[in-house]
Symmetry: C2
Subunit: 153 residues, 2 copies
């Protein structure tokens, strides 16, 4: 299926209450994509899409992002095999964010550090007012140094 | 508890593998906060915090944001009663996003449109290449016109 250009933004009422998809891309042309595991519901990563990567995602059923650090299109899993098959995409009231529910391929991990989720550390406020982190995943799914160096994949 | 200034950003290795919280705020001084229901795991909203709203959130245990549209601090639920009690905050590998797990107070809804979640519409690609939306929540929790007009709360 070839996806057409998305509808232009309408009135606030139309955006918030309508059934026309009118996504808001920011001044860099990007929209935030919150990516959760379709089965467990856990948050895996936050990525950014431009209009073209969103179109590719809808057309192919596999998640494409825009890499802000590398300034290029990035098919998640293209290097690592951790392809995201998209089960559902939702948007929020003002249509400036996306929620993707995905199944993860390959070794089942999402984070390039080897953990299942990019969100594997929780904040720990200490008594002296400093904030540290603690690991919430007890092991890595894989050792990234043995697979594909340190780049995102 | 009074939270100190967050640690400055260290090396990539330190940020990605360390246990020091070194959040990255963007060029507007903001970090994205993905907010999920602590019980169901469902995504409720995406908000943005600056360093001060994040400090207030950690200190008080209730979520504070920076409203990009109104350019002011915004305690979620300050108007609506839909206060978010924060159970846990996680960050991702590059520490440029937050994941909040919250319990929602008041009427239990999060969206100012009356729905439980701001993400209550899913994308529907049509055969002609256009993309529409469909409601995934079958009713509103409350009628916002009877409560507090149309502002976010």
């Amino acid at each position: 299926m070839s996806i057409k250009d998305f509808e232009p933004r309408g009135s606030r009422t139309e955006v918030e209450n309508g059934l026309s998809f009118q996504p808001k891309f920011d001044e860099l042309g990007l929209i935030a994509a919150v990516v959760c595991d379709a089965t467990s519901g856990d948050l895996l990563m936050v990525g950014y899409m431009n209009a073209e990567s969103l179109r590719r995602t809808i057309e192919t059923g596999e998640a494409w992002y825009w890499s802000r650090s590398r300034q290029e299109y990035w098919k998640k899993g293209g290097t690592s095999g951790q392809v995201q098959t998209v089960r559902e995409i939702l948007t929020d009231c003002d249509q400036d964010a996306l929620w993707l529910k995905v199944d993860v391929g390959g070794n089942g991990a999402t984070c390039h550090t080897g953990y299942r989720s990019c969100f594997h550390r929780a904040l720990v406020p200490h008594d002296d007012g400093r904030v540290g982190l603690r690991l919430v995943e007890d092991h890595k799914v894989y050792d990234p140094s043995e697979v594909y160096g340190h780049s995102h994949g």
